[in-house]
Each structure stands twice: as structure tokens, then as C-alpha cells.
């Protein structure tokens, strides 16, 4: 058997786990690991410019590819800088393993240089964490970390490794375990057959059904099964922000996104439904509006891998714990076996009603914003043109704010894993580093980061990483010269008192900034040049291009649900502002 040091074992274990790319940043406590990394070529390391970006890049890599993202950082500030990205991955259930160096074992607890209690600090935002005390434990710990991160409801796992454990002079026998068994961790493998039966009966009896699906369909690779089930039943489908692409946006059964900035037809259909089939979605507050008024006439079937997500905010009538993909297949089989059909007459009436809603206020059949009369570019149009230029097939990452909602509403994702955003935590600065991760996973694909001048400046140091590793992502900056979403809320709820959202002419010249990093910058201020510049941008295959697009700064994101404390009627899914002048 081969003798390896702890540092070597760690890197070898990553290789044996099938890891190709690690995003990280070296430092004192991680030096032995970095030395082991240097002496091999199976695992490629991408040196970011800030540890937050390492986690977001690994996160984007994971979301796009389905593989577990891997991060390597040092102790102290290296570890704490990674926290925001770990929390981001945790909230969106993204498989990630974060290896952090730690000060030497005998120094732990003594406030040593660059010491922080990483296991403690990360505890509320990880699925699990390990502190490795002996080098011999490294292979089994890494195996467990990947197993826990990627199975059940996925999530980030931290492995904290004291420096002495990786000492190059202490060698041990290395073998990587083939499998892993943890007695207290056994995620459900399939749905309960009794519950499946009840669900099928309710599904077939429904007169006004809606299928509501979330990130679980994406993470659980259940998109094809969802399409199969939805087509078989002919029921309308809506996706959460995290679930976009789980059902093809261009399909006529798709109602668009639901929730705070969901479409009129999706939110209204949910409110009036008599049955909701929720799959891999967690009835988040950005979906339900006030839970007391949530869909008063609806029975709820809730499929989720995580029992704690069921009946957490909204009570489920039929809970089904299990992997979404397996459970959807079980439902399909049970429906086929029953030989029964949904009530076609009722379904026709339901679709007639939905089509009428769609016709009246729909996002896709009628503009939800005023057509531009003048020169000011509407941000929604930028997204439509992005869709056109990329053939609707780009990987789109985003930051957080109005641009994120416009991208979610108007790009029209037809495939899973194409839409990559921080939905749960809402992390500004996520867009560029996550785009790098996607590009690393899919070097030949178009990767667009839709961002705003506010969010972009939170992680723009990564432009340098893009240069070093030739990661030619395209950055679509919807520049409204303000923190747009905050501004929108200040317009709507604070009588236009713009507290701390303006930069007062301090924005950099983004074109020059790009040139400083060796990239291409384009400034776009009018419709005349928007599409041609966008074509030019994506034609530059091997360059990072930043399109600084000046958009109408007064634009708001609509529809927008009216919260329970807003002017009545308010608080239900169906209560929405539809534009600056209209409401339901």
C-alpha cells in the first residue's frame, strides 16, 4: 500500500472522488495541502482573487454540471471570507465541499495567528462539518463529505484540517473507501406507496390543478419526468425562481414564474386552484405572500426529499418524502396503471380561464412595461435580445436585484441548469464568479452574467481570474445608475426617499476598467446599437466582454405581489401591482 502524507492524501482523495477542478486561495495553514497540489496534475486548481469568489465559482460549477463544487481555503480570514458563499449554497441546496486549513492542533483555542473556529462559525449554514484530527482519517472523511454533500437534500459540507495533520514528513497507508455508510444519515430512496395512491386520486379528481415546482426538480434531475407527467395530465405548470428551466418556458402549459415577481397568470391560477402539486419547492415567503391567505381552495400534495420542508410554512394534505425524480416516476406509473383520465371538461374550462388571464395581463403575450418612446433602453428588452442572440441556450448567471428578476422573467429558460442565481440568500456579487465556475464546467457554452453596476462591484476583482484562466464569460450590465431594487422599494414604500442608493458620479468607466484587465468593454446607450453590439459581444468567443448598457433608471419590476400590510386587497397570491398605474 502506498504511503502518503496527510496533504497528499487529501489531494489524492479528491482525485479518487473524481474531482477535476478546485477553486481556492492558499495561505499559511493550507500550505502543506498546496504543496501536495503542486506535485500532481489530476486536480486543477483555479486561483481566485477572494475566497468568496471561490465558493461562488464552485457553486456555479455545481449548479451547471450537477457535480459537487470544491473549495480550498486557508484558516482565519480565508475561512471567514468563504462564509457568504457557503451560506449561498446552503440556502439553495447546492452540493459543495469546502476544505479549510486550520492552525496546528496544539494551537487551537489559543487565539493563534489566523485562527478562527471554522466548524463553529459555519455550523448554521452547512449540511454537516468535520474537523479532521488524524491524517489516517482523511480518506474516509473526504468520502463522507462528498456523500453527504451530494445525496438527499444536497448542501455544503466543511472539512477543517489542522496544519499538523497534513505534515509532509508523516506518511500513512492510503486507500480510498469504495463506499460509505453513516448510521444516522439515510435519505429517503422512494415515495410512500400509500401516499402515492392518495396523490393520484386527488390529481385525477382536480378541476383546477396547478403543478408548482422548484429547485428540487433542477437539483434532482427531474425535469424530464416533470415534463412527462405534466403532458400526460395536461395541467398548467409554474416554476419558482430556483426552478426555472425545470419545465420549458416556451411550452404552452407553462405559466411563467410564480411569487413576488411572478406572472399574473401563474399567481392568479395558484390562488384559484383546487389542487397544487408541489414538487421540490418549499413554499418560501417569496412565493406564498401571506401564508394565511395562501390559495384558500387548494388541496396540497407536496413532494420533497427533505421532510422538514413539508408543512413548514403551508400545511400539506398529502406529504410525499422522497427524491423528486423517483416520486414523479412513481406517480406516472400509478396514473398509467389506474387507466383513469383527468376531467377533460373541467380542464378545458380551467385552461379557458387561464388563457383569459394570460391574455389580459400576461408577461409573454403583452408587455408588462411601457414601450420605450425615446432613447432609453428598457432593461426587459435587453434580456429579450440576449435570448435572441444566444438562441435561448446560454447559461445565464445573475446577481441580485432588478436585473435578476428581469432575467428570470424574460429569458425564457427551456432547459434545467441554465439559470444560475442566488435565490435563497440573495447574494450580490454571485454573478461573475459563478459564471466563471459555469465556464470552467462548460468551456464551449455561451455563459452570460446578467448583472447591475451595484452587484457587479461586489466581486469585480475576479476579472483578473478570468484573464488568468481564459474564462471568456459575457457580462451584461444593466446600468441604471442606482441600486435599482432598493430604489423601487423606496419609490413604492418610502415616497421616493432615496436613502443610500446613488453613487453621485463615482461609477468607474467600465470600458476602461475592462481594458485594464485585458478584456473588452462596450458602452451601449441606445436601441440602435443594442442588438448589433450584443451580436458582436457573443461573436468574440475567446474574450471576456462587458456590455455596459444604460437602461431606463425609472423602470420597476412588475408584477409585484402586494404584501399583507399593503393597501387592501392584499396578502394573497393574486394581489399584485401590475405596473406603476395598475393593480389587481
Amino acid at each position: 500500500m502506498e504511503l502518503l502524507s496527510g496533504g497528499e492524501m487529501l489531494i489524492r482523495a479528491l482525485r479518487d472522488e473524481g474531482v477535476k477542478h478546485v477553486f481556492g486561495y492558499p495561505g499559511g495553514a493550507a500550505l502543506h495541502i498546496y504543496d501536495a497540489l503542486f506535485q500532481q496534475s489530476d486536480v486543477q486548481h483555479i486561483l481566485v482573487r477572494h475566497e468568496q469568489a471561490a465558493t461562488h465559482a464552485a457553486d456555479g460549477y455545481a449548479r451547471a454540471s450537477g457535480e459537487t463544487g470544491v473549495v480550498l481555503v486557508t484558516s482565519g480570514p480565508g475561512a471567514t471570507n468563504a462564509i457568504t458563499g457557503i451560506a449561498t449554497a446552503y440556502m439553495d441546496s447546492i452540493p459543495m465541499v469546502v476544505i479549510s486549513g486550520q492552525v496546528m492542533s496544539h494551537l487551537i483555542g489559543e487565539d493563534a495567528f489566523q485562527e478562527t473556529d471554522m466548524v463553529g462559525i459555519s455550523r448554521p449554514i452547512v449540511k454537516h462539518s468535520f474537523m479532521v484530527n488524524r491524517a489516517e482519517d482523511i480518506p474516509a472523511t473526504i468520502k463522507k463529505a462528498f456523500y453527504i454533500a451530494s445525496t438527499g437534500r444536497p448542501g455544503p459540507v466543511v472539512v477543517d484540517v489542522p496544519k499538523d495533520v497534513t505534515n509532509p514528513h508523516d506518511k500513512y497507508e492510503y486507500s480510498y473507501p469504495d463506499n460509505v455508510k453513516i448510521r444516522s444519515y439515510q435519505p429517503a430512496q422512494k415515495g410512500h406507496s400509500g401516499q402515492i395512491k392518495r396523490a393520484v386520486q386527488m390529481l385525477l379528481e382536480a378541476k383546477c390543478p396547478v403543478i408548482y415546482t422548484g429547485g428540487g426538480v433542477i437539483q434532482g434531475n427531474a425535469s424530464e419526468s416533470l415534463i412527462e407527467l405534466a403532458r400526460m395530465l395536461g395541467y398548467p405548470v409554474t416554476n419558482t425562481l430556483m426552478g426555472l428551466g425545470g419545465y420549458p418556458a416556451s411550452d404552452k402549459q407553462f405559466l411563467g414564474m410564480l411569487g413576488m415577481h411572478g406572472t399574473f397568470e401563474a399567481n392568479t391560477a395558484m390562488h384559484h386552484s383546487d389542487l397544487i402539486l408541489a414538487a421540490g419547492a418549499r413554499f418560501d415567503d417569496r412565493v406564498t405572500n401571506a401564508t394565511k391567505q395562501f390559495c384558500p381552495g387548494a388541496k396540497i400534495i407536496h413532494i420533497d426529499i427533505d421532510p422538514a420542508s413539508i408543512s413548514k410554512t403551508v400545511n400539506a394534505d398529502v406529504p410525499i418524502v422522497g427524491p423528486v425524480e423517483t416520486v414523479l416516476q412513481e406517480l406516472i406509473a400509478a396514473i398509467t396503471e389506474s387507466g383513469a383520465q383527468p376531467d377533460q371538461a373541467a380542464l378545458q374550462d380551467w385552461w379557458r380561464q387561464i388563457d383569459e388571464w394570460r391574455e389580459r395581463h400576461g408577461l409573454y403575450t403583452q408587455s408588462r412595461y411601457e414601450e420605450s418612446g425615446g432613447d432609453l433602453i428598457k432593461p426587459q428588452d435587453v434580456i429579450k435580445i440576449l435570448h435572441k442572440v444566444t438562441g435561448g441556450d446560454a447559461y445565464v448567471t445573475s446577481d441580485v436585484g432588478q436585473h435578476q428578476m428581469f432575467a428570470a422573467q424574460y429569458y425564457g429558460f427551456d432547459k434545467p441548469r441554465r439559470w444560475i442565481n442566488s435565490g435563497g440568500l440573495g447574494t450580490m456579487g454571485f454573478g461573475l464568479p459563478s459564471a466563471m465556475g459555469v465556464k470552467k464546467a462548460f468551456p464551449d457554452a455561451d455563459v452570460a452574467c446578467v448583472t447591475g453596476e451595484g452587484s457587479f462591484q461586489m466581486c469585480l476583482q475576479e476579472l483578473s481570474t478570468c484573464t488568468q484562466y481564459q474564462l471568456p464569460v459575457k457580462i451584461i450590465n444593466l446600468n441604471n445608475q442606482a441600486l435599482g431594487m432598493v430604489k423601487q422599494w423606496q419609490d413604492m414604500q418610502y415616497e421616493g426617499r432615496y436613502s443610500q442608493i446613488l453613487y453621485e458620479d463615482s461609477l468607474p468607466d467600465f470600458v476602461k476598467l475592462m481594458e485594464a484587465y485585458g478584456h473588452v468593454g462596450m458602452k451601449v446607450t441606445s436601441y440602435d446599437e443594442l442588438e448589433s453590439k450584443m451580436q458582436e459581444c457573443f461573436a468574440l468567443k475567446d474574450r471576456v466582454v462587458f456590455m455596459d448598457i444604460y437602461v431606463d433608471p425609472s423602470e420597476h419590476v412588475y408584477p409585484m405581489q402586494i404584501p399583507g400590510h399593503g393597501p387592501a386587497p392584499s396578502g394573497a397570491m393574486k394581489d399584485m401591482y401590475l405596473s406603476k398605474l395598475e393593480r389587481t
Binding site: 466548524v119 463553529g120 455550523r123 448554521p124 449540511k127 454537516h128 462539518s129 474537523m131 453527504i148 453513516i182 448510521r183 444516522s184 444519515y185 427533505d306 421532510p307 422538514a308 408543512s311 413548514k312
Partner: protein
């Protein structure tokens, strides 16, 4: 739960993180040295207790969760209480201790240290019976519990 460093902090952290309250908590290794058994008391409606149970089950270090109040069960708590005891008080306190089936486990010139075991209610009642005025110090272990009858918590 696994008898591992950090396991307890995950349980305790879960309660503070999600805004649940811990009334009492006891924990120690079991006959199987790889396992610790933890008895925790908390208050909440059915929905909250269900959520707490589900979240505890999600913790990788937690092997099994049982709500003892779902069935007949035995609860015990141990209290050590130091009281001022001089003159006529000494006999009175001794009587009170006997009534509660407690034991005087240490004797000083001016003080008694008394051990009382039982349900939390009984311990509360003892404190009330001896009266605030003479109590010098109280330490309670928190509740430990087991279900009654043949039912056992095993893996």
C-alpha cells in the same frame, strides 16, 4: 446521537438558530460508548414540535429522535439544594425533606445540603415548601426520561 465532539453544539445551535426554546437539557454517554443520549424539554404546539423533530432528524450526528410525551413515560430530575438550617429550622427542614423523600447529603453548622429527585413539578414543590427565605443555592440537572413498559429506544 453520536458521541462526537461538536454534536451537542449542533443540537443546541439548531434551537437558537430557528428560534425554539430549550427548557432543560441533559446529556451523557450511554452503555454504547459511541452514543450519547440527550433528553431535552421544550414547549411548543404540535406544528413546532413536528418541525423540531424533523430538523433534529436532519442533523447527521443525531441517530434517533423520540417524543416521549407521545406515550406513557417516566421523567426524573435531580436537585441539590443548600438551605440555611439552624435552631428549630433544622428539624423542620429534615421533616420536609423526608416528606419529599429527599436526603440530606451534607451537613454544616448553619446549613444542610439536600438531594431531591423526581419530576420537575415535585422539585418545584419542594422549593416552595422550604421557602425562598432559607434557600442559599439550587442546582438542578434537567429532566431525563424513558418511556414506560416494553417500549425501548434502540437502533
Amino acid at each position: 446521537m453520536e458521541n462526537e465532539p461538536g454534536a451537542l453544539s449542533r443540537v443546541v445551535g439548531l434551537f437558537s438558530q430557528r428560534g425554539y426554546n430549550i427548557e432543560s437539557l441533559t446529556v451523557a454517554p450511554t452503555e454504547d460508548q459511541t452514543l450519547s443520549r440527550l433528553t431535552l424539554t421544550t414547549i411548543g404546539d404540535d406544528r413546532i414540535i413536528e418541525q423540531i423533530t424533523k430538523h433534529l432528524n436532519k442533523l447527521v450526528d443525531v441517530v434517533k429522535v423520540v417524543d416521549l410525551t407521545e406515550g406513557a413515560h417516566i421523567e426524573r430530575e435531580l436537585m441539590l439544594i443548600k438551605v440555611k438550617a439552624s435552631g428549630a429550622q433544622r428539624a423542620e427542614i429534615k421533616r420536609c425533606t423526608d416528606i419529599f423523600r429527599g436526603q440530606i447529603v451534607d451537613v454544616g453548622i448553619q446549613v444542610y445540603t439536600i438531594q431531591v429527585a423526581g419530576t420537575s413539578d415535585k422539585l418545584d414543590a419542594f422549593i416552595e415548601a422550604v421557602g425562598d427565605a432559607v434557600i442559599l443555592e439550587v442546582v438542578r440537572t434537567g429532566v431525563s426520561g424513558l418511556s414506560r413498559g416494553e417500549k425501548i429506544l434502540s437502533l
